[in-house]
Subunit: 171 residues, 2 copies
């Protein structure tokens, strides 16, 4: 199973502003949605899931695939889409293995990405960098005790203001 | 006066590891030293200056130009190089204006960059992104109350693993 992160951040590693908002570019949104639909196996945390529940069905990033919600609760609210609960990164991977998937996309938030990093269960990272510097934003991975080396695979200009960095995790 | 930041960070915006070390690439170091010598007008904070005092003269990044140290102290230890103390970003800019400089390079650390950002005294940012993710590093700008929009000017691959992003600050 190949585990891939999709992250967007400010130039200084903030994944949301001080109020938790992510006003990223249309190009980032398009690339994100396209990768979710292409892979069709998505993992998100309970907080991120709760945010999607406040949006319209059209905004759901993985309409035709399966999505695992990382949560300590055993049941989830009813959803129009195919969602499964999991209590840990390894359980999330098990669910997708049973579904015969070969890769999965972890789309956040911070606790979810950090739990995969700490478990050493990450193979690739896509990072879209948006043109803003935030002193008061939510810092990616901050407060978790790890340091992980990466290998730059590719850089891509998604739009006039957005650059995408693609890394492999060195294991 | 054009004020330029030179910053190197992990993919998630950490400017040093948990112990304060910056084991960045040779390509980042070469680009950094080259820009310091080219501009010849450098600003650093007192902590960064103290670190340079523990190194050999060869490591000093601005041998033939002038350097301003941001510090609340009125005098500095003796130095082989031309250094001036300043208590604020605007005083640092004044010193270089009197020296007939047209641009200056702010090389850190975090408090110094943040004080220029909060004062709105930044025109351009060069950011070298190194291939490492740190949960426990020192996060750039973290804890300061600002959000500043940027414009991507150029991206450049400094080496196989290091990408340089060049931004203008939108005022």
């Amino acid at each position: 199973m190949k585990t891939i992160f999709y992250i967007a951040s400010s130039v200084n590693g903030c994944i949301a502003d001080k109020d938790g908002n992510t006003n990223w570019s249309a190009e980032d949104n398009a690339s994100f949605n396209s990768m979710c639909e292409k892979i069709g196996a998505v993992v998100m945390g309970r907080n991120t899931f709760n945010e999607y529940l406040t949006l319209s069905d059209d905004d759901w990033p993985n309409k035709s695939g399966q999505t695992v919600i990382l949560t300590l609760q055993k049941t989830l609210p009813n959803s129009k889409f195919e969602v499964y609960p999991a209590t840990s990164p390894s359980q999330a991977i098990n669910i997708f293995e049973k579904l015969k998937k070969s890769e999965l996309l972890v789309i956040g938030g911070n606790e979810t990405w950090t739990s995969f990093m700490k478990a050493g269960l990450v193979d690739e990272i896509f990072l879209d960098i948006e043109p803003v510097a935030m002193g008061n934003g939510k810092a990616l991975f901050q407060g978790a005790n790890f340091e992980t080396k990466l290998k730059l695979v590719e850089t891509r200009q998604l739009g006039p203001q957005t650059i995408q960095l693609h890394y492999q995790v060195i294991k």
